[in-house]
Symmetry: C2
Subunit: 91 residues, 2 copies
């Protein structure tokens, strides 16, 4: 692995692990009210396309990071539905 591929992995680990604080915050507060469902949905579709693009370019950094990112975004979409349902009961 050359230095640039390593850098791609560092970039990828940040743009995927970036969603972890949001998952933790959402889980702790049980609130996702201010988080846009449209945002997490569009990002999830976009990242899925990056996986396909990464495969076409034979770019492992792109493929791996976007698979992980898509997984975290799917968790956020699920949390959005679960906690918004609770919000509605409270309001």
């Amino acid at each position: 692995m050359d230095a640039w591929t390593l850098m791609g992995f560092v970039a990828g680990s940040l743009t995927t692990s970036g969603y972890i604080p949001q998952i933790i915050k959402g889980y702790r507060t049980k609130r996702m009210h201010d988080v846009s469902l449209m945002m997490v949905s569009i990002l999830c579709v976009g990242m899925s396309l990056w996986i396909v693009y990464g495969i076409s370019q034979d770019d492992l950094a792109l493929i791996v990071s976007n698979i992980i990112g898509t997984t975290f975004l799917s968790v956020l979409i699920a949390m959005k539905f679960i906690y918004n349902g609770r919000d509605r009961v409270k309001e």
Copy 2:
């Protein structure tokens, strides 16, 4: 531009325009309370590294999409500070 580069641009336009609904939602509600500052910050740093990686790979789709993404994330970070300040006054 070949079909894969075009696909990269579609992927990139989704993973960058994905932040627009969050900007609109935040601007309308003047609330960013549930949005994790750590998330937007880490994503912003990660995307900056993707720009450098994109330059190293001479990958225009990566470069352009991450420049736009970094811009939107910077807007979200600014909104987070502005609206959280207001939240604190209200609470």
